[in-house]
């Protein structure tokens, strides 16, 4: 479907830095992110000022963390299909109409399009800021501290560890096909690619079995050990939850209005 996912290597997402945003504990950042995007999602569409405040908060965090705007812009492309879909709504929506240039557009549709675009962009920007300032191993530690069940965190950790490896392997199989003149253009020519996917599954599964043996060889008994050394300061919570608390209050005011 669509154009596939971002070609970013999963471990190249972090923009290294020493800012206070980078240094915040990952569990604190995760809580702040969830509170922030929930506020965005719940804000009524007509409270335009509220969205302006959210955008200002994100801009401030971006500036403090020194994440290049171009990086955020590039990663935001992932929501582009939704923005395009939203752009259609004023044309196909019903209800009272507003004249915009040469078009008669649905007023509700315009609000709906605004709503979808604003929330999608703000929400994605917030997520991108988290992954740009937090290495994935730290995110996993954060999830563990937030009591995400250990098996889930471990499965995510495995996935993250082996994703690039499998993707590279698949890429090499595609190259090997191309090197022998395979250039499929129609679905019924997809058999080699699909077979490669099947082969990749077998490789992945067998690697899983070997890794399982390697784990057993080092005393694994079914429970992933806790390797975290907790360090938590209330100061960090105050710093990180500041913007989130601001967003929550903005959301509440916007709803009450």
């Amino acid at each position: 479907m669509g154009g596939g996912h971002a070609p970013n290597k999963i471990h190249d997402l972090v923009i290294s830095g020493e800012s206070s945003v980078h240094r915040l504990p990952p569990d604190v950042k995760l809580v702040a992110l969830v509170a922030f995007v929930s506020s965005i999602a719940m804000t009524p569409r007509h409270a335009v000022w509220a969205f302006a405040v959210y955008a200002a908060i994100l801009a401030a965090v971006t500036a403090i963390a020194r994440v290049p705007i171009a990086v955020i812009g590039r990663r935001l492309l992932i929501v582009a299909p939704f923005l395009m879909a939203a752009a259609l709504v004023p044309f196909i929506g019903d209800g009272p109409q507003t004249k915009v240039g040469p078009f008669n557009l649905s007023t509700d549709g315009l609000w709906a399009a605004w709503n979808i675009c604003a929330k999608a962009l703000l929400g994605a920007t917030a997520s991108i800021l988290l992954t740009s300032t937090t290495p994935i191993p730290d995110l996993l530690v954060g999830m563990t501290r937030l009591r995400v069940p250990r098996p889930v965190v471990s499965i995510v950790a495995f996935m993250v560890r082996y994703l690039d490896l499998l993707a590279d392997q698949f890429q090499r199989m595609r190259l090997a096909m191309a090197a022998r003149g395979h250039d499929p253009r129609w679905l019924w020519q997809a058999r080699p690619v699909a077979s490669a996917a099947g082969t990749l599954f077998v490789h992945a599964y067998e690697r899983g079995e070997r890794t399982h043996q390697a784990m057993l060889a080092r005393g694994f008994t079914g429970h992933m050990p806790d390797l975290d050394t907790p360090t938590r300061s209330s100061g960090a919570w105050l710093t990180a939850l500041g913007p989130a608390a601001l967003a929550v209050s903005v959301c509440i005011v916007a709803i009450v209005q």
């Binding site: 994935i136 993250v160 070997r210």
Partner: protein, 248 residues
């Protein structure tokens, strides 16, 4: 002297297979020895290694590690004493940082966090990989991966280290550095390899396994300077190599 590893009549057949991949293996390895396990593909070398750590159930015969029988009841103890370095380091380095991976074994042994950190540091220092602790395994070189994989095993302070094809995927410098590294490790070592010069550089004694049996057991230099015996077991020195046994 009690043998570090003592294998008696070890026989194994994979499910759905029609032949014994191990067919009555008899072998004693003594503490502090470094022994190369040579043999053609499919001769049963890796299957034998997996038995030493209790990763395959013993169907017939027995294995004794020091004075402990390899059996379900003793698995935790056996796995602490016998460290396995697998053929593909990517199978072994499964955590998201090298440091966490080295800590995995000690954590399973129940070593408490402050002491665990020391153990991890020591193990990484032993393979000259202290700088890799925070790195992701996908981002380090083949030689670094191999050293990190060895550190994950050393962190459990094993008495015996089994290495499966440790030179695969290494460049010549990485190979030499690995040979130097193995010489600094005090534990008894069993090195499975196709790389005969490497075996010569690291292991004074070699054992040839063929068709599930021990086909030869002699000083490495003697085995490698016997071309007929090598050919008989599908072993071959690299082009241009010629060895002569001392005194021959």
């Amino acid at each position: 002297m009690t043998a570090a590893i003592s294998i008696r009549s070890l026989t194994y057949r994979y499910p759905n297979s029609h032949r014994n991949v191990l067919d009555g293996i008899e072998l004693d390895i003594y503490p502090g020895e470094r022994v190369a396990l040579l043999g053609p593909n499919g001769s049963g070398k890796t299957t034998m290694a997996l038995h030493l750590n209790g990763l395959l159930p013993i169907q017939a015969g027995s294995i004794t590690i020091q004075d402990t029988l390899v059996a379900d009841a003793n698995l935790a103890d056996i796995r602490r004493r016998v460290g396995m370095v697998f053929q593909d380091p990517d199978d072994q380095l499964f955590m998201t940082t090298v440091g966490d991976d080295v800590a995995f074994g000690p954590a399973n042994l129940g070593i408490n966090p402050p002491q665990r950190d020391l153990v991890v540091q020591d193990a990484l220092a032993a393979v000259d990989a202290t700088h890799l602790a925070e790195r992701h395994p996908h981002h380090i070189s083949g030689g670094e991966k191999r050293r990190a994989a060895i550190a994950t095993v050393l962190a459990m302070s094993p008495d015996i280290v089994v290495l499966d094809e440790p030179t695969s995927g290494l460049d010549p410098v990485g190979r030499r550095e690995l040979a130097e590294l193995l010489a600094t490790i005090g534990a008894t070592q069993l090195v499975i390899t196709h790389d005969l010069p490497f075996a010569l550089a690291t292991c004074p004694r070699s054992v040839i396994v063929d068709q599930g049996r021990i086909a030869a057991d002699a000083p490495t230099i003697d085995l490698l300077s016997d071309p007929e015996r090598l050919i008989q077991h599908r072993l071959e020195l690299p082009y241009g190599f010629q060895l002569r046994a001392p005194g021959a």
